[in-house]
């Protein structure tokens, strides 16, 4: 795992709660909004399980700390999106809070119903970008969430030891986190 320079992180009193909201002007219409919200709720929840940080969705986009949106091409942050595949998404280091997904992708929440060869798993990308929002940079561990590449029609949503150690170095451990279960799951994946 790696950090941004200076190891920026969200500085709030403990227990920390960060709010997030979806851009009213930057959403896709071919997936039900409830499903998109559920995907992000699960993605935030994975990080919450390992660090003492909670995430709450709010309606007011302006006052939220984390801003999520689907955008096309040049969307004003100096990092234009490039159409189908290529760059899928990007996010900003703490405490900026912007998380942008390329609206040109075929975002999928279920590959059984989305048959496109270029479909991209929304939950995998959301989980990765939340890692950036929290302060993690890219990892060289190929099965870690923070590995920068994700192939179409593939799914990578479970935090690995590398991700957990990195984010806990920034925020400490959730007292309810069971490290042994993670090791066990890593072992099962390895054997499987």
């Amino acid at each position: 795992y790696s950090f941004f320079n200076g190891q920026p992180r969200w500085m709030r009193s403990s227990p920390m709660t960060l709010t997030y909201a979806f851009s009213p002007d930057g959403m896709i219409d071919y997936l039900p909004q409830e499903e998109i919200r559920a995907v992000f709720s699960r993605a935030f929840g994975r990080w919450s399980e390992v660090i003492p940080v909670n995430f709450t969705e709010v309606e007011d986009y302006r006052t939220a700390e984390i801003h999520i949106g689907f955008h096309n091409g040049d969307h004003g942050d100096g990092e234009p999106f490039d159409g189908v595949l290529g760059v899928l998404a990007h996010a900003f280091s703490p405490e900026n809070g912007r998380l942008h997904l390329d609206a040109a992708e075929t975002w999928a929440v279920d590959f059984q119903t989305e048959g496109s060869r270029v479909a991209v798993d929304l939950e995998s990308v959301a989980t990765h970008e939340i890692g950036h929002v929290l302060g993690l940079a890219h990892s060289s561990v190929s099965d870690a969430i923070m590995y920068p590449s994700l192939r179409p029609r593939s799914r990578r949503v479970d935090l690995r030891i590398d991700d957990v150690e990195g984010v806990q170095a920034l925020y400490g451990s959730n007292p309810n986190f069971n490290y042994g279960s993670l090791l066990e799951s890593d072992q099962e994946t390895f054997n499987g």
């Binding site: 190891q7 490039d82 760059v87 899928l88 990007h90 900003f92 990308v125 920068p148």
Partner: protein, 133 residues
């Protein structure tokens, strides 16, 4: 079920080549789909369009900006960028555009650079460095 047959001809790995071919068809008409043609090029070669690969490496933090435009030469700077890319992303470190490397370059990815010197904190580029563990 067909399994790739091992071969020793020119150390050519058919299973990897098959993967590259399969992914190349998926990546047709995507931003980096055309990079498949760079597979197996070596340092010292000149190939039209390899400047686009240098732009890619520059974008993700592996090459400094050129004084002018990037050339189409497979030069030492490009080789160094490939070394670092392979090291960063857990590939066999060869410094060559082997099929595994080209296959991963073509794959979709996060827009954040891998050295995070271009981590977007504001709308302007900000120079940062990372600590890797």
């Amino acid at each position: 079920r067909n399994f790739p047959q091992p071969t020793t001809v020119l150390n050519f790995d058919h299973s990897t080549a098959t993967t590259l071919a399969a992914h190349s068809s998926v990546y047709n008409n995507t931003p980096w789909g055309g990079f498949a043609k760079f597979a197996n090029l070596e340092k010292g070669s000149h190939f039209t369009g390899i400047c686009d690969l240098k732009t890619y490496f520059h974008h993700f933090g592996y090459l400094p900006p050129p004084p002018g435009n990037f050339s189409d030469d497979f030069d030492s700077d490009l080789e160094s960028a490939i070394f670092n890319y392979q090291r960063n992303l857990g590939l066999p470190v060869t410094g060559k555009l082997d099929t595994d490397t080209v296959d991963l370059i073509m794959a979709p990815r996060c827009g954040m650079g891998d050295d995070h010197t271009r981590a977007a904190v504001n709308t302007t580029t900000r120079h940062l460095h990372t600590t890797r563990h």
